[in-house]
Amino acid sequence: MTQQPYSKPLPTPQPESDFYWEKTKEHELWLRSCNDCNQAYFYPRDICPICFSRDTTWVQASGKGTLHTFAIVHRAPTPAFRDDAPFVVAIVDLEEGPRMPTNLVEVEPDPSAIHVGMPVEVVFEDVTEEITLPKFKPAG
């Protein structure tokens, strides 16, 4: 049985994000965090965007958060997303503080089933051999 090739856009990991994408492949979510102001931030980079310190490190996230906002996409933005519509794009407030973009999955794509502030947790989708995308589902 042959699988359909993955046709949606894929990230191209960069030097400052190789570690992030390696860890998602292991089904772990890691964030950059500042040793000076003790705040985690997203997306990963070698300088704290809050206090501009270069004394930064990687920390593992709990994968728990709440829904900051969402939209339900009815008109697919490109042909590759056509079979997915309607689907849910979302921004999640992680327990550690940062906000991250994602999809909300394992939920009806209907405004009556989704609300801002709902608890969510990370799931990992191995979309290709090289790339695993962290997504979120309603917390159980």
């Binding site: 960069q14 994000s17 939209a71 009815h74 933005p77 921004i91 973009p101 994602t102 999809n103 801002v116």
Partner: protein, 380 residues
């Protein structure tokens, strides 16, 4: 800061020859037509131009195409607000002596282009947003609108978005150049299909082919041009994020900084404004920009626009061209705000002319609600 208020003026504005659906013209053709038309409007020629400005493309390309070798060049690209920001840069450059006649051009075959816009894979959004389908501004802005609805109430927000869509269409019906020719009722708005919930089709701007150009010159030079000068009283610019997921507050654009800064430079208060030209990539953009500019407080936008107050005959005329929602929007719309403001201030708008229009506040938004530029303009 040096007081640059009223030191430079807009003396020429124009669209390209045809706007809307123009399948037989390239983006550069739209630049060219608009540039020639705007210089003609000003009574100036190509040889007068010594400052060249554009966004999206580099002035490398437009300078080469038009045969202009500028002394001052600026390709600042921060989305659809760029051309508003170019006005500020032109004022600064003219005052510094870097140029005397600044030509700002825009052209985009947004609807009919034969080639997609290339994207640089180094952009963080390509790693962290695009793989999830954060593609195209309707999706990004829809997420921002959801957050606003959560904070300030879904029903009253929805009604505000409808008010903006319907009033803007009324203005478009009085603009012969507007793409949309049919009246829109509130039912039409509410019954239009979902693009990305909470956005209906009629929350979203058009996608058109169009070009536009603006000529800015020194106070001295402006005294001898063909049309009466429209003075730049105040200007300000900023941006605070790239992708929608790093926007500090999804219910507030940096118009909260550029609006007060431009008004302060101009020495104006909100009550002085006769015409508001507000970037309407989406109905939601207008709602939060009115709040950001300080016409009302955060969350008060729905009350501010209620009762078709911004429509023809209302006491707060806004987006009298029909806006990006119903007039034209090739991808980057900001320069068209300037064109309408200048025409209104010159009294050239016929049926839709705002009576005694002396001062206009213009605000452009760019990217994923990322940048804003504000200018205050006035006739003599």
């Amino acid at each position: 800061m040096a007081d640059l208020s009223r030191t430079a003026a807009i003396v020429g504005v124009a669209e390209s020859d045809e706007i809307g659906t123009v399948p037989n013209k390239s983006s550069l053709q739209h630049h060219m037509e608009a540039a020639a038309n705007a210089l003609d409007d000003a009574g100036l020629s190509k040889s007068d131009v010594d400052g060249l400005f554009t966004a999206g493309y580099s002035t490398y390309m437009t300078g080469d195409y038009l045969g202009i070798k500028p002394r001052f060049t600026d390709s600042t690209t921060v989305g659809g607000s760029s051309f508003i920001i170019h006005i500020a840069h032109a004022v600064a450059a003219i005052n510094a002596g870097w140029c005397e006649v600044a030509l700002i051009t825009h052209g985009q075959a947004g609807r009919s282009s034969r080639a997609p816009v290339p994207q640089d894979p180094i952009m963080p959004t390509l790693q962290y947003e695009i793989p999830y389908g954060f593609i195209g501004q309707p999706i990004n802005y829809a997420m921002a609108a959801t957050r606003y609805m959560h904070q300030y109430g879904e029903e009253r927000t929805r009604q505000a978005l409808a008010e903006i869509a319907v009033s803007t269409r009324k203005w478009a019906l009085m603009n012969p150049k507007a793409a949309m020719k049919d009246p829109m009722t509130f039912d039409d708005y509410h019954n239009s299909r979902w693009i990305a919930w909470p956005f209906h089709l009629f929350d979203c701007c058009l996608v058109t082919d169009a070009g536009a150009a603006v000529v800015v010159t020194s106070a001295e030079r402006a005294r001898s041009t063909k049309k009466p000068p429209v003075w730049v009283l105040g200007a300000a610019e900023s941006h605070d994020h790239l992708g929608i997921s790093t926007m500090p507050d999804l219910t507030s654009t940096v118009s909260r900084h550029t609006g007060p800064a431009a008004l302060s430079m101009a020495g104006l208060t909100h009550g002085d404004i006769d015409l508001a030209m507000i970037y309407d990539s989406f109905t939601y953009t207008v709602l939060i920009t009115l709040e950001g500019l300080g016409f009302c407080g955060p969350g008060e936008g729905p009350d501010f626009v209620a009762g078709q107050r911004t429509a023809p005959g209302g006491d707060f005329p806004m987006n009298t061209s029909g806006g990006g929602l119903s007039y034209t929007h090739p991808g980057m719309y900001g320069i068209f705000l300037i064109i309408e403001a200048v025409r209104q201030l010159r009294g050239e708008c016929g049926e839709r002319q705002v009576p005694d229009c002396g001062i206009s506040l213009v605000n452009g938004t760019g990217g994923a609600l990322s940048s804003t530029g504000t200018v205050a303009l006035a006739r003599d």
